[in-house]
Structure formats: structure tokens, C-alpha cells
Symmetry: C2
Subunit: 223 residues, 2 copies
């Protein structure tokens, strides 16, 4: 077997910053932030841990790059539609990005060196609100309220320790078991009559709150 043939059969394409960043995102998506270690990312790519440092300067630099890829996945609020539709679509898109990349929720707004997709996203959102007649103080109100809600909902949903009605039922059992019966009657009623009902999905609450906020902002804008 010639060395030429050996090369053709080499299952490892050359490493690159792009390949490292995308492997890291895929790994964090499936295994979580705790599993996002240099050693595990290197394992995904079948290289020694230290090979990564040729392409990224350290773990924080890797996370910077991963977050900018995610900002690129958020649909930008474009020129055509009114501000309310644009902000609603952008909120739903950001919600979807955070659901796909749960590990990123606490990291999106924490970058000391935001990348181009990050800056472009914030520029587009602010521009859309400004051209709809929001003054700068009102932009600050609206952005803080919307993003507070979007990230907070994503955080709460991510951390909720159950996903299905069955899991909730099991957890409710464990939850009340150590305490006297009827010690927490309002919570018990809420859990049994609402959360444990078939078809309950916490995720569906998102749009109720989003629309309440958008309507409130509209009222403040026209006042």
C-alpha cells in the first residue's frame, strides 16, 4: 500500500478554526456546557487536545466564536414590516436559537469582544425601533424588557427539571412527599389542576407574555 493511498484514506480532514468552532457547538448542543471541554472537543475531531490551540487562543476565545455563529442564526428584523411584527418575529427566532443551543443562554450577552454577527444584530434591532419612532430612552426600555423576557423565559424553560407530564407527576410525588399533606395547598392545586393536565406545555406561555409586552410598548409609544 503506497503512502499516497494512505493519505487518501486518512479520515481526518485538516483542522481549521471553522471546524473546531462547529464541532464545539454540535458537542455543546448534545452534551451541554459542562461537557464543553477542550479534551472532549478534541476527541470529537480525533486530534490531541493541544492541536486545538493552533486555531483558537483559549477556551474563552472558542466560546466567543461559537456565540457569534449563534447570533448569525437569529433572523434579522428587516425593513419591510412594522416594528411590532419585526420584533415579534425576532423574539421567536431568538427563542428558537436559544432552544437549539441551551448552553448559550447565559453567554450571549456576556462577550467582552462581540463578533460581527452580534454587532450587526443589535444594530438592526435598534435601527428598526428608531425608524418606527422610538426615541433613544424608549429603545433602551424596549430592548431591556424584550431581551430580559426572552432570555429569562429560555433560562426558566431550560432549567425546569421536567419535560413531560409523566416526569412532572413523578416529580410532584417526590416534591410533596417529605412534607405534611396540604402544607402547600395553592401549589398543590396549581400542579394537579394545571401543570399535570394532559397537553400542558410550559413553552406555550412564551407568546402570551411576548404579546402582552409588545402591546404595552405600543401603548407607551403612542401615548
Amino acid at each position: 500500500m503506497s503512502t499516497m493511498a494512505m493519505k487518501d484514506e486518512d479520515p481526518r480532514p485538516a483542522l481549521s478554526r471553522q471546524r473546531v468552532v462547529h464541532a464545539a457547538i454540535a458537542h455543546a448542543d448534545s452534551a451541554g456546557l459542562d461537557a464543553l471541554t477542550m479534551r472532549q472537543v478534541a476527541g470529537m475531531l480525533q486530534v490531541a487536545p493541544m492541536a486545538l490551540y493552533r486555531h483558537i487562543s483559549n477556551r474563552d476565545d472558542l466560546i466567543d466564536a461559537m456565540i457569534d455563529v449563534l447570533f448569525g442564526e437569529i433572523a434579522l428584523p428587516l425593513g419591510g414590516t412594522d416594528w411590532k411584527t419585526a420584533m415579534r418575529d425576532r423574539a421567536m427566532s431568538l427563542r428558537d436559537v436559544l432552544a437549539r443551543h441551551r448552553w448559550a443562554i447565559g453567554l450571549m450577552e456576556s462577550r467582552r469582544r462581540p463578533g460581527p454577527a452580534n454587532l450587526r444584530h443589535h444594530d438592526a434591532v435598534i435601527g428598526k425601533l428608531r425608524s418606527a419612532g422610538f426615541d433613544i430612552a424608549m429603545v433602551a426600555h424596549a430592548y431591556s424588557l424584550l431581551d430580559g423576557y426572552i432570555y429569562g423565559f429560555a433560562l426558566t424553560k431550560m432549567n425546569i427539571p421536567f419535560n413531560t407530564t409523566d416526569e412532572m407527576a413523578a416529580m410532584a410525588q417526590d416534591m410533596f412527599e417529605p412534607f405534611p399533606a396540604n402544607e402547600y395547598p395553592n401549589l398543590a392545586e396549581f400542579v394537579t389542576d394545571h401543570v399535570m393536565k394532559p397537553g400542558y406545555d410550559y413553552g406555550e406561555e412564551f407568546e402570551y407574555g411576548l404579546d402582552l409586552i409588545l402591546n404595552g410598548l405600543e401603548g407607551a409609544l403612542t401615548a
Copy 2:
């Protein structure tokens, strides 16, 4: 020197679950979640790491206990006042607790075995809303919206990579430096004309959003 005198001079009181939990909270408050390691908490208490395992079963059990202490610090919405005042006070109190214990933001609603203070808090909030005329579906809307916003605002504020106007100015410099001038005009205007103005404090946005949400819920309740 007698062994009796040695005992009197021993600077280490006996370990207890309470002492471990409170030392861990104090350490996480000052050094952050990454520094909340068994070895560092043990160091605080001047014992060997393994001494902690006599009083807690593992790191997760320690965090469970820490979170329940924090729930105990939130002012309960009591009987006297109307629901809006009660929810506003409770939101401000939770905001303050999260500001004192920033490491806890992602952990408060993630416990598979919530402690008594946790359950008592949720029971009181739900009870207050129910007795004000919210039906169960509306309680779910209100709770999800309020807590989404409160936790999300705390998360964003915690992660924002600057605290003072000076830090923001330094960061703005670094932020736009790698890109062509006027590449992000809306963001640049927002930063220079609002965020970098003397007296700017992101934290002050909290009450604007909170009141907008409470007014929206009031409208939905009376409708």
C-alpha cells in the same frame, strides 16, 4: 500547656450542615459559581475536603440547601396589600436576592427536590394571585411572565461585561475598533448618546418593565 487549654484555643468550631451551607453561600457570593468547589469551601472552613461529606451527600445536595436558604430570603407576598403591590414588592425582593447571590440565577428554578422555603414561596405567590381573582390559567400566564422577566433581567445584568461608564467607554473602544467606521451606526449612536452618558444605570430599567407587565396583567384580569 494542657490538652484542655489546646481545646479552648482551637479556632475551628465543629462542622455542621448549617455551617457548610452558609460558608458555601458566602464563598459563592464573593468568588462566583466557578469557585464553588468542595476543596475551596473546605478551605474556607479550614477542614479537609472530605470532612464536608459527613454533612452533605454531594455537591448537588449542597447546592439544593444553598438555594433553599435563598428562597427564605425573598419577602413573601402577604395578606394585607392588593395583588399588584404584593407582586411588585415580591419582584423587587427577588431582584435584590439575585443581585446579592448572582451565582444562583440559573439554579433557583432547577431543583428536582425543592426545599420547604422554595415550596412555601411558590405557594404564597399562587395563593395571593388566586385570592385576587386570577383563575388557574391566568396564574400560569402571570407567574411565567413575571419570573421570566425577573430572572432574565438579573441574568442580563449579571452578564453585562461592564459596570461603570468608564468600563463601558473602554469596551466600546475595543468593540468597534476591529470594524470599519460607521459599520454599525444605530448601535454606535445608542452607545454614545445613551449608555455612555453620565448617570446611566442599566439596573434602573428594571422597574419600567416590571410596571409595564403588572399594568398589562391588570388589564387582562379586568377584561
